[in-house]
Point group: C2
Chain length 347, copies 2
């Protein structure tokens, strides 16, 4: 778990004031679902095995390269919070992680990324071709796993979520390089490409526990808003972290011309001259060495990075309120801490 600074400190601009005593972390969550998560990891290893060596090798690389396993932990904790006593949540959590990993492989191909979580991406090591195909393999494995669970309800959730995920990725591609993207369109993209899987991961917990509809909806809403907050922070960190902590190169989004909230707001709030700068660098892809520093200047002047963190905080609050339907439990507390962790993280 990385050190994080509280959101208030971040908004006030005091980035050095790390609070060691009250640092939001995933510790409580990890403690509560640690044993189940080990079972999830076992299922993942078993299921990604293939007679084709390259599949096991490449899938192993991306799955083993760490990651917080946040999404499967959400499924595990949600199920427990709903009083679920069985074992179905284990395979479903693995299923969620497989879908996530498949999209990561395809994302890295689409974005030509070279670093992920501080390690070389699969596409940079093996090339785009196996990454595309092993992504397909992992998608299929996710569906095999969910079929073996045997619930059409669960299958429906996962199949619909996968379709929405793919739609979100294409939407992002379409809005990429368009500085006039509205905040609403941006939100639609991150809701589809990120938040929908967070939402499904949480909802599955209540589905296996056979809880009434309001609880399902509460968990779906918790996950959705958490996912939006998570992606907002991710996009803001691309302009405010350092490569070592972020696990990828800062400024990647800028160099790719990917329009995220910090840019979108800077464009809207900017002068005509500033808008020309954004159009040249992000739309025309015509960038010089000093442009990234200049971009940061404009963003800082209009406070768009901090405002992105503020927007994240808003969705974090909505997320926490969604959980209030449930009575107190350690799992509920852990899930609330996930929100604080996600909006407070620095990498």
């Amino acid at each position: 778990m990385g050190k994080v600074i509280s959101l208030n400190e971040k908004i006030s601009g005091d980035k050095k004031g790390i609070n060691h005593d009250d640092t939001p972390s995933l510790d409580l969550l990890s403690n509560l679902v640690g044993e189940d998560l080990q079972s999830v990891n076992r299922v993942i290893l078993e299921r990604m095995d293939s007679p084709v060596g390259l599949i096991t090798q490449l899938a192993g690389h991306i799955i083993a390269s760490g990651g917080k396993r946040l999404r499967p932990m959400l499924t595990l904790a949600s199920a427990k919070m709903c009083g679920y006593q069985g074992k179905r949540h284990i395979e479903l959590a693995a299923c969620v992680e497989f879908i996530h990993t498949a999209t990561l492989l395809h994302d890295d191909v689409v974005d030509d990324s070279e670093l992920r979580r501080g390690a070389a991406t699969a596409n940079s090591l093996w090339g785009n071709k196996p990454s595309v195909l092993v992504g397909d393999f992992l998608f299929s494995k996710a569906f095999q796993l969910s079929v073996s669970d045997g619930s059409l309800r669960v299958l429906d959730i996962l199949a619909s979520t996968s379709a929405v995920l793919a739609e979100g990725e294409v939407m992002q591609l379409v809005t990429s390089n368009d500085t006039e993207t509205s905040e609403d369109s941006y939100l639609e993209v991150i809701t589809s490409k990120t938040a929908s899987l967070f939402s499904a991961a949480c909802k599955l917990g209540s589905v296996v526990a056979e809880r009434p509809t309001p609880e399902e909806e509460a968990l779906a809403s918790f996950g959705l808003n958490l996912g939006i907050a998570y992606q907002l922070v991710d996009d803001a960190l691309d302009y405010s972290s350092n490569s070592k902590n972020l696990g990828k190169a800062v400024g990647d989004d800028f160099r790719d011309g990917k329009i995220t909230l910090p840019v979108l707001l800077a464009f809207r709030r900017g002068t005509e001259n500033e808008r020309k700068f954004w159009k040249r660098t992000m739309e025309d892809g015509n960038q010089t060495e000093d442009d990234f520093a200049q971009a940061l200047n404009y963003m800082n002047y209009h406070d768009t990075i901090n405002d992105s963190f503020k927007r994240a905080k808003h969705f974090g609050e909505v997320s926490k309120d969604a959980l209030e339907l449930f009575r107190y439990s350690s799992e509920k507390k852990a899930l609330q801490e996930v929100v604080d962790f996600c909006i407070g993280r620095t990498n």
Copy 2:
């Protein structure tokens, strides 16, 4: 339907002797399932619709660009042959076509193909990125469709088939450029990447009709062997057709260094000098303008293109025998004609 010459003529080397009177075609099949196929096309159009314009556009391009709709027709005819009276086979046939289309999109990215069925590929028109993502979208849509069918048996078949397909594609990537690939490995690749979906398409017909296991197995075997024959012919045509009929550039496999049966046999049967030629051109990718003609010379000398058609004929025979379990019906006759059409086709 393209004109085809009979297999005997092809083997005897008389490629001009087109037999207009007894040309195997898909006509009987098309007549029998034509109405159902129109329903399948309607389902496809409805389901590929998306608020994201690029998805509808790109998916529409590849789906509308023709293709014989062979796989969905196999599902429709198999179901009818099994006496099925309902409507489930319509959506399942659409599902099979979605899976097929998704793999085509990803294949063309992996192979850097520019032509498919005589038209520009989606990746050459829109780039690789949307092709990868729209492929994912179509995969997800296939699963949504199969979930709405509601049978876990069907879902299991489709999820397993998708995993095998992806494994086959990766296997092909691994054996690509390896002139020492054995005929068995080659067969394993084409069984996974092509025949498995043919097999599933046929098997689904008996599953919806709730036929006993031997009939399911017979249809699965019919499809599997038909699919192997189909791919063998496809690979042989890459050295013996002309671009206009083939709908793609002849010699693509050679230029890509893709090791298929005609090459694999020429390497095995060749002299040391010939093997050096194959290693240089296919393994090292070091090709001059005259090399394709030279490759054809070696293949003709060792008769490896004709022998590939002969191998196809063998699997076609096995395929037909698998059907013999069923009593006579127009559908059975149509399915048998599919075999003749597939091994006799010239494009």
